[in-house]
């Protein structure tokens, strides 16, 4: 198939693709504890997605990744971030209503130094996921639109 790279590149891409995606989702999930967050993790996931068209060619990537679905998911991400910002509007904009409430990501953090509790910080992890969804789909839309424009006319 045209646009494909060599066997070495395709094999390495098959191995590293899952690892890059897992690392990106790890950075998003631990955004409130470790360096990185929604933007950084989303960029890592998008670079993992961008590996597919580079290694396997544009036609193979377009079978798995749908640009209009990506665009709608980006809108969902930004709307989810805005909705989370309005969740505590009764007290103030961006008020963290879920912190210390006992729900998901709502565990109370004990006093003193600790190694970081994943199930804490209230709405911040949800905001990280919203920003991560928006960034990964937005950057992937850029790459896919470039690919579609590159394959539209001319000899390639």
């Amino acid at each position: 198939m045209r646009g494909e790279m060599s066997v070495i590149v395709r094999t390495i891409a098959r191995i590293t693709y899952a690892l890059i995606l897992v690392f990106g989702f790890y950075v998003i999930l631990h955004g409130h504890l470790t360096p990185g967050g929604g933007f950084q993790g989303g960029a890592v996931v998008a670079s993992g997605f961008a590996l597919l068209p580079v290694a396997f060619g544009a036609a193979a990537a377009k079978r798995y990744l749908n640009p209009s679905l990506m665009r709608h998911l980006e809108e969902v991400g930004s709307l989810a971030f805005l909705a989370l910002g309005f969740l505590g509007i009764g007290i103030s904009f961006f008020y963290n209503v879920l912190a210390n409430s006992g729900s998901l990501f709502g565990a109370a953090v004990p006093f003193g130094p600790n190694s970081g509790i994943l199930n804490s910080a209230g709405t911040l992890p949800f905001m990280n996921w919203a920003v991560g969804l928006k960034v990964m789909t937005g950057l992937m839309t850029i790459v896919l639109v470039l690919l579609i424009g590159a394959g539209k006319e001319g000899k390639d």
């Binding site: 960029a43 998008a46 670079s47 961008a50 470039l146």
Partner: protein
């Protein structure tokens, strides 16, 4: 402390070498790869200067995504620069 400064100087010199190579190569694919290497070294420098947040963003966007975008753009243009 002195070892950290030596690593920093080596990294900065390699960044300059990578940037100079990216400008001077006539083969544009090699130029893109030199730019990706310089970007990866910039990310290492951010990590040495204790900004791991910026280092992750630089490694993901500067080294990986812009390289993919440049390679896609290069497919529609000439690979060699004119003399």
């Amino acid at each position: 402390m002195i070892a950290q400064e030596i690593v920093q100087v080596i990294t900065l010199v390699l960044i300059l070498v990578g940037a100079a190579l990216a400008v001077s190569f006539k083969d544009l694919l090699a130029s893109i790869l030199a730019l990706a290497g310089a970007s990866l070294l910039v990310s290492l420098e951010f990590y040495i200067l204790q900004a791991p947040d910026v280092a992750i963003a630089e490694a993901a966007i500067g080294a990986a995504l812009t390289t993919a975008i440049y390679v896609i753009a290069l497919r529609r243009t000439r690979r060699k620069e004119k003399e």
